[in-house]
């Protein structure tokens, strides 16, 4: 067998190995409802902040700087409470139009490990809010 063939075989073997390892790492995007049907599984939720009916962001750094709780609602109308144990609310959370939340669903709340905020973009915004005061 030629050396090139050996090299190619090894490369193929590595590639297959990597593919398998990647596949086992993957997670999925879910709706809140489908997440509730698989509690404990690591998933991604796409939702927005739910501030209806007096729901609000709970964060008191004096009591505990590592505890944040808020409510979300997704496009299918599913709602859930979210608990995040890594610190303060991300910048612009109130203004966000969409959030990607990574974590696990439990009976009482979604235990979130990472929050990615998507803000209304100033580039696609059609109308400028201009305040005439400096």
């Amino acid at each position: 067998m030629k050396t090139t063939h050996i090299v190619i075989l090894i490369v193929i073997a590595i590639a297959i190995g990597l593919l398998i390892s990647t596949m086992t790492d993957l997670s999925t995007y879910d709706s809140i409802q489908s997440a509730q049907s698989k509690p404990g599984k690591f998933i991604h939720l796409i939702a927005r902040l739910d501030t209806s009916a007096g729901k609000h962001i709970e964060y008191d750094p004096i009591k505990n700087p590592n505890y944040l709780s808020f409510h979300i609602i997704d496009s299918l109308g599913g709602t859930s409470r979210v608990i995040y144990q890594k610190g303060k609310p991300p910048t612009d959370m109130e203004r966000s139009e969409r959030m990607v939340l990574k974590g696990k669903m439990t009976d009482s709340a979604f235990l979130c490990e990472d929050i990615l905020i998507k803000c209304p973009s100033k580039y696609t915004e059609n109308q400028a809010k201009i305040s005439s005061t400096k």
């Binding site: 993957l26 750094p61 505990n64 700087p65 505890y67 890594k86 580039y123």
Partner: protein
């Protein structure tokens, strides 16, 4: 209808220059193309003359656009959309350039500008290859010019013009900007006098790195087209290796500058953003890393080809791919497709079709040409020997290439979802999913980087290998073993397998450094001009070693151990309590330090607020003060946007940033002192427990009291028992100076209690007690310790230096050959 106060002339000039640039780059493309395909020498010459003039016009118009855009930003002409969106009056002068390339349009212009510079150098220097290489560069300029042209082609908008006015874009509306409109909904002719300030630069980008990182990175991006263009020219003219000598310094320069640009981004992330590190495998980072890796593969296989005739097909493919990946990464980061996976991708400008076209117009023809020519690219029938340098150069490059493919494959997940309608998301631990694979690649490529230089081309005798490698191998073993044994690298988070991989890779990176370092002196006799490769390898090894040590020994030192935080709340299992709250003037235990928040300060010209945090080592006398800063209430935005500060040591950094501040609105002090009369031994209740007056003495343990000679003090010793069964001591003091008395209150911060000893009477002492929240001036912060971080930066600098030395050496070599 004329509007007062508008400055329309610069915009008109800008528009004109944009169109001029589009036309001249198209003309340059066509005439260079004609110059390549013409058989007649005279015709060739005249086409080339036209092409050169056209490219000169292109250079001038791009520079002109640059100046006009700079002019309108620095003069704050807010009638222009780009100026309003990206700048404001308060912005310090040094960030004007940052505004320039904050938006997509400006960064396309920056890219285009570097092509002009590089194109100019090619016209001046690369006589033989000028027409074919410049055909591609001119075409690229044309493609970039369409990105900023902002014309409508039927109903489809092409590009986004940086010189449009806000009112033209329909950005002004009676609902959002009522004062600028008349009662019948017409825009007032003096509307501009109400647009007093712009939207401003994203505060996260108000940083000196934003001024220097994009130009360097875009020079890196721009330079990758040169090796690509040479390869295409070679394939096109079936001159499969004539381009090599000319393209080599360009490829080396490109690898150096692109590497520098990428790592400047990492330094920025580390120094000024609160990612808590320098690399996060974010898609945007990956998208520029991968082309660099493929370019480095190409440079290595080119070496093999140069000396033995092997690996030409691979080299050509690598040089094609590195540029195509740059174009692909442009598509990824600018189309908004990464929206859900990246923190810092550009936002969607609505040009996705155009970006896709931009991608395809380079990818498809280039790969098609490669496929057509593949068979005719020379490849020797003989096999490389196992003991030859070229064989291992090829294997190493291949492994490096596979790891690049792995990274870009994972990064492309959103694209795969889009293509196949799937809904896959990155896994739970993204960083580890990259790290666990790449550490193995680093181990093997590390070994090869150390060994391969000691091999000879064609065949290396066994005795020679053993003789020359014995010493470096032995030294590396000793050094890496001592790091492993005494370095305290115990990264158990992912088990023993990963820890073993870390230690193995420490060996291989130390091996790179030592083997390459010794090679400079043993084989190259210390001739630095020839040692570019070894220096670059040495730097690469140092960088990898720094990455390994700093990542595996990165330590969060702000573990919350203060009494202030009570419970973790529901769902708390393994989650780290990484944020520590520091109450003003109270020294808090944090790792090896006692840390005190001393106060904050602002500067009238700086919208940032600086926080003074004092560190006192527990083990020695060392003290230092850090000033992390933050934008507080930036434009009515409730959140704070923080920048870290670090204490740099030669062997580690202590790194801290603010994560939370009290909200002054919420904590107004409305409580008042309540007077109590207490005798020794009395117990009283408060909302969270009770307190006992233990004794009254005429001494005090408290320090920092404003005592003078002749003062007398009385101290009430109070023990506070909180509900959660924690105990605190308080010592309010009554200070008597002459005929006056001064109560010096004492606070129990975690219980929000203030005691004031205000006097004494028959029934007992008078004690004022207040329960409040507003006494707490505090900050919440995170602090890390990064050991060996400087190795990373040192490694990068050495590596880039190595690339530049190699570039210079090849330029000299080409010059010598020309003279001969």
């Amino acid at each position: 209808m004329p509007y007062t106060g508008e400055h329309l002339i610069p915009g008109k000039i800008g528009h004109f220059l944009l169109i001029l640039s589009l036309i001249s780059s198209l003309l340059a493309t066509v005439s260079y193309y004609k110059a390549v395909i013409s058989k007649d020498l005279n015709l060739q010459r005249s086409w080339k003359r036209i092409a050169r003039s056209a490219f000169l016009v292109e250079i001038l118009s791009v520079i002109g656009i640059f100046f006009v855009l700079y002019f309108i930003i620095s003069n704050h002409y807010f009638e222009y959309k780009y100026v309003w969106q990206h700048s404001n009056l308060a912005l310090p002068m040094q960030y004007i350039l940052s505004c320039f390339w904050e938006g997509q349009e400006g960064s396309f212009l920056l890219w285009s500008f570097w092509h002009c510079v590089l194109g100019g150098i090619i016209i001046l220097r690369e006589k033989e290859w000028e027409p074919s290489v410049m055909t591609l560069i001119s075409f690229m300029q044309f493609a970039l010019a369409t990105m900023v042209i902002g014309l409508y082609f039927f109903d489809y908008k092409i590009g986004s013009n940086p010189f449009v006015l806000m009112r033209e874009e329909g950005m002004l509306s009676p609902s959002q900007f009522p004062i600028g409109f008349t009662s019948d909904g017409e825009l007032r002719t003096d509307y501009l006098s109400f647009v007093r300030d712009g939207n401003g630069l994203n505060p996260l980008l108000q940083n000196y790195w934003m001024t220097i990182h994009p130009p360097v990175l875009f020079l890196g991006f721009a330079s990758t087209i040169v090796p690509f263009a040479f390869v295409i020219a070679g394939l096109w003219k079936k001159n499969y290796d004539g381009w090599i000598a000319a393209a080599r310094p360009w490829a080396l320069f490109s690898a150096g500058i692109l590497g520098l640009g990428i790592m400047m981004g990492a330094a920025w992330a580390y120094e000024s953003l609160t990612f808590g590190g320098y690399w996060a495998w974010d898609p945007v980072e990956n998208a520029s890393l991968v082309p660099w890796m493929v370019l480095v593969c190409g440079i290595h296989t080119l070496m093999a080809y140069k000396h033995t005739g092997h690996s030409l097909r691979a080299t050509i493919l690598f040089f094609l791919l590195q540029f195509l990946l740059i174009v692909y990464s442009t598509f990824l980061t600018r189309s908004g497709i990464l929206g859900d996976t990246s923190v810092h991708a550009f936002t969607d400008l609505g040009m996705n079709t155009q970006l896709l076209l931009f991608l395809m117009i380079f990818v498809l023809p280039a790969l098609l040409l490669y496929a057509i020519r593949y068979k005719s690219i020379p490849a020797p029938a003989s096999e490389e020997k196992f003991s030859s340098r070229e064989f291992w150069l090829f294997v190493g490059s291949l492994l490096f290439f596979i790891s690049a493919v792995y990274i870009i494959g994972k990064t492309s997940l959103p694209v795969i979802n889009k293509l196949f309608g799937t809904k896959y998301a990155p896994g739970q631990d993204i960083e580890y999913s990259y790290n666990k694979v790449l550490i193995l690649f680093s181990f093997v490529t590390g070994l090869l980087t150390a060994l391969t230089q000691y091999l000879r081309y064609k065949h290396s005798p066994r005795s020679l290998i053993l003789k020359s490698l014995a010493v470096p191998t032995l030294i590396s073993l000793l050094v890496s073993l001592s790091i492993s044994i005494w370095g305290n690298i115990h990264y158990y988070k992912y088990g023993y397998g990963f820890l073993t991989a870390i230690h193995l890779t420490i060996f291989s990176t130390v091996y790179i450094v030592i083997a390459n370092g010794m090679y400079i002196f043993s084989a190259l006799k210390g001739k630095m001009i020839k040692a570019g490769a070894s220096i670059a390898h040495l730097g690469f090894g140092l960088m990898l070693l720094g990455i390994l040590i700093s990542s595996s020994k990165k330590e969060i030192i702000s573990w919350n151990t203060s009494g202030i935080m009570v419970n973790f709340g529901e769902g708390s299992t393994e989650n780290a309590a990484e944020n520590l709250t520091l109450v003003k003037d109270i020294a808090t235990d944090m790792g090896k330090y006692m840390v005190t928040y001393l106060g904050d300060s602002t500067h009238p010209l700086d919208p940032k607020q600086f926080f003074k945090v004092h560190f006192q080592s527990k083990t020695n006398k060392e003290t230092f003060t850090l000033y992390p800063d933050a934008f507080v209430n930036y434009k009515g935005n409730e959140q704070l946007i923080a920048n870290p500060d670090s204490k740099h040591y030669w062997h580690k950094d202590v790194f801290t940033y603010i994560t939370s501040l009290p909200n002054p609105e919420k904590n107004k002090d409305t409580a008042t002192f309540q007077q109590k009369i207490m005798k020794k031994g009395d117990t009283l209740f408060y909302s969270k427990g009770f307190y006992i007056l233990e004794s009254i003495t005429s001494q005090t343990q408290r320090t920092g009291l404003p005592l003078q000679q002749g003062d007398s003090v009385f101290t009430a010793q109070i023990t506070v028992h909180a509900k959660d069964s924690s105990k605190y001591q308080a010592e309010p003091v009554l200070l008597i100076r002459g005929n006056s008395i001064f109560p010096v209150p004492d606070t129990v911060l975690s219980q929000s209690l203030i005691f004031a000893f205000t006097g004494a009477e028959e029934k007992g002492i008078r004690l004022g007690v207040k329960e409040t929240n507003s006494i707490l001036q505090y900050i919440t912060l995170k602090a890390y310790q990064f050991p060996a971080i400087n190795l990373v930066w040192l490694g990068v600098i050495i590596m880039v230096l190595g690339f530049f030395i190699a570039t210079y050496n090849k330029v000299l070599k080409n010059k010598r050959n020309q003279i001969q």
